[in-house]
């Protein structure tokens, strides 16, 4: 894509073990990333078939500035979500974008099901379908070890993308792990891998990409690099990391706690970013091409024998969302116990946020007598991490009917057993750790993938004064941000750097490599991408007016006090009116 008029797409047929490469000039107008991936999903998806049908595609894409500028490190994955049945979209860092870039593929489309478990080994001049039979049923670490052995010649230039048993067993919120510590976490891409017998992908780069205009490129690179490292724009992500959010959200009354019965956690100080830094933090890492280093790794030791002081030491990545979902939401107040639960979820290969929210609902459902001790096998009680660790295993193994149902997500489980009012999801996707107000709640409902990252609704709430609720303004703010993020995600900028990459910086970065884009081009692309996503959602049967929000969102006060149900639906209706107008404008 860089320096080219075309987007280079690699299509992989898992069943036939054949590939084809297509240079697509028509895709250039979508910039890259989510723009290109949306079109490829739309072209290849089969709305009439279930999400895990072998015919359904997995699409990966990077953007036109990936790797060559700091913090443009993400890859987007698009698929049909087995959790929500509609648009699946997820982002991961690590080395994947760098390796796709150096292997020379802007996008990859994977379809059909392999005859047996497979590792796809992709490089600039080869795609190999390797036997993964011995690895099926084993942990993700084994995969890394095996890939490192057969790709040893690509040491330092490869990325390993794999699933754990959760994905193999097609748990609806199974994740895909990239280079040990990064994930395509949300919406169940892991299950889609599992449904194709795709255990892992290794990608290795190797192409030479000569710089066309060194002076202008390096000048722009240097300016952006300095803003990332010397200004305070990125400092919070490097320093304490995202867990810095625990205390302010708790103080504001926006921290979902005990299955969101509460908006504050009495032990928030014990699980704050500072507490994790003091007690557990041992190391930070970066995605390739990012000088910031936001990946925070904590460590705990575990005694594995009753006598003889036998310990193992385990290092695990942590972030705000994990502390919320597997900590405050479940009433865990010891960072070491939270890390241990994170590790269980990591080994299982599940999305941490969905897993925590599902377990929160299960705990309350047991307490209320909707399910029995026989169903849960272990007594799930808020604050009891050992039982939660066991429950994670049961979800993955589908130990009984109850755990099989939990493996389909909290919406599904609550439809079977009741307790829908406290099943904390939005349109089937388990909630994020922000009960900040209408912005976060409606933002997730209207967001293309029902994620807090679709439009950053929590940020709309944080900028709003109490008692000053204007549904029209909230709908406007959510829509503007959702559309703008379509553009940012077409470059696949890490959204932590969204303040570095303002429009001016993006245009200069393009100009420095000889692509003369205008502000209007970016706006037009953003709208085109947004319209594509809306078409996909419509084809998959999504209707905003059918979204029903669980009652607890309106019972537990948010940062802005108790939310009014009618107002939330009013904002959604306003949003619907605005997107209808936007769609006609794009068509026109």
């Amino acid at each position: 894509m860089i320096y080219q008029k075309t987007v280079r797409v690699l299509y992989i047929d898992m069943q036939a073990k054949k590939i084809r490469i297509v240079e697509r000039e028509d895709l250039k107008q979508y910039i890259g990333g989510v723009g290109v991936a949306s079109i490829l999903l739309e072209e290849n998806m089969r709305p009439e078939l279930p999400p895990l049908d072998p015919a359904q595609p997995i699409v990966f894409a990077i953007g036109g500035l990936s790797t060559i500028y700091p913090v443009i490190t993400k890859t987007v994955a698009m698929f049909i979500s087995p959790l929500t049945g509609e648009l699946g979209e997820s982002y991961a860092g690590g080395r994947m974008a760098l390796t796709m870039f150096s292997a020379g593929f802007d996008a990859i489309v994977i379809y059909n099901k392999a005859v047996k478990p497979t590792i796809l080994s992709i490089s600039a001049n080869d795609v190999n379908f390797r036997d993964a039979e011995p690895l099926w049923g084993t942990g993700k670490d084994n995969v890394g070890q095996v890939v490192r052995a057969f790709e040893h010649k690509h040491s330092g230039k490869r990325s390993t993308i794999r699933i754990g048993p959760g994905g193999e067993n097609q748990v609806a919120y199974a994740c895909v792990t990239v280079d040990r510590y990064r994930h395509f976490g949300r919406l169940g891409l892991g299950a889609v891998f599992g449904s194709k017998y795709l255990k892992a992908i290794s990608i290795a780069g190797g192409r030479d990409i000569p710089i066309r205009n060194f002076q202008s490129y390096f000048k722009t690179y240097r300016e952006i690099f300095e803003r990332c490292t010397k200004s305070d724009v990125m400092a919070k992500y490097h320093d304490t990391g995202t867990p810095i959010n625990v205390e302010p959200l708790n103080e504001a009354g926006a921290l979902p706690t005990l299955n969101m019965r509460q908006n504050r956690f009495e032990h928030a100080d014990k699980v704050s970013g500072e507490a994790f830094s003091q007690d557990c933090l041992v190391r930070k890492l970066s995605c390739s091409g990012c000088p910031v280093g936001c990946i925070h790794l904590g460590q705990f030791r575990r005694e594995f024998a009753a006598h003889g002081h036998e310990y193992e030491t385990i290092t695990v990545g942590y972030d705000y969302e994990l502390i919320f979902a597997l900590g405050t939401f479940l009433g865990l107040s010891d960072p070491k116990e939270i890390l241990e639960l994170i590790e269980e979820v990591e080994l299982a290969g599940l999305d941490a946020m969905s897993a925590g929210v599902v377990l929160g609902w299960a705990t309350e459902a047991l307490e209320k007598g909707l399910v029995t001790n026989e169903d849960t096998i272990v007594p799930l009680v808020f604050g009891s991490y050992k039982e939660y660790c066991a429950a994670v295993h049961y979800i993955v193994s589908g130990e009984n009917e109850f755990y099989k149902n939990l493996g389909r997500g909290v919406k599904y489980a609550s439809e079977v057993y009741g307790g829908q009012s406290f099943a904390m999801h939005v349109s089937g996707n388990e909630m994020a750790g922000y009960h900040t107000g209408y912005g976060s709640l409606v933002g997730a409902a209207v967001g293309a993938r029902h994620s807090h990252l679709c439009n950053g609704g929590y940020s709309v709430d944080q900028g709003m004064k109490d008692g000053n609720i204007d549904p029209d303004k909230i709908a406007d703010a959510l829509l503007a941000e959702e559309v703008e993020r379509c553009m940012l995600n077409s470059l696949v900028i890490c959204l932590f750097a969204r303040k570095v990459y303002d429009r001016g910086t993006i245009l200069s970065a393009f100009a420095a490599i000889g692509e003369n884009m205008t502000d209007d081009d970016l706006t037009a692309a953003a709208r085109r991408i947004f319209a594509t996503k809306l078409r996909i959602k419509k084809a998959l049967g999504f209707r905003l007016r059918s979204v029903k929000l669980p009652k607890r969102f309106f019972e537990t006060p948010s940062m802005h006090g108790q939310l009014d149900e009618a107002t939330a639906y009013e904002i959604m209706a306003k949003y619907q009116e605005k997107i209808t107008a936007l769609e006609s404008a794009v068509k026109g």
């Binding site: 040491s155 990409i209 490129y217 390096f218 390739s288 280093g293 990946i295």
Partner: protein
């Protein structure tokens, strides 16, 4: 006094690859990490150690001794300089270096020789690398 690169603080490395990317960009005018003089890789996966491979500026470099055409001449302070017109692309320098610090440019058919410019040091956010002054 000549300047040479020194490593030794790699436990601070976050694996950002900034050193690799700027070296390839500045010295080889390429976006490809293959072209960099310095390599960063993991030892035992991402959860293991990060290790660097870069020229150690030997005073009596094996790469130069192995070169049949005297294309590698001794650099002040240690290491070598490549005389491109003398190089025949035999790769003996590459196999002579026991720390594998000589990369090879397949497109230009010549070794990629670090000249200790220190750019990697400037772009390292964690002072994993340094430039020190040594006697000529």
């Amino acid at each position: 006094m000549a300047k040479v690169l020194r490593t030794g603080n790699m436990s601070k490395c976050i694996g950002c690859f900034s050193c690799v990317l700027v070296c390839a960009a500045f010295n080889r005018k390429s976006h490809s990490i293959q072209k960099s003089c310095i390599k960063i890789r993991t030892y035992g996966g991402v959860s293991g150690k990060l290790v660097e491979t870069v020229c150690h500026a030997c005073r009596e470099p094996a790469c130069a001794a192995a070169c049949p055409s005297n294309a590698l001449t001794l650099r002040k302070g240690g290491g070598v300089t490549l005389e491109k017109d003398q190089c025949i692309g035999c790769r003996r320098c590459q196999s002579a270096c026991i720390i594998n610090a000589v990369n090879f440019d397949e497109d230009l058919n010549e070794p990629i020789i670090c000249h200790h410019c220190g750019l990697c040091v400037r772009y390292c956010p964690h002072e994993c690398l340094s430039v020190v002054e040594v006697n000529d």
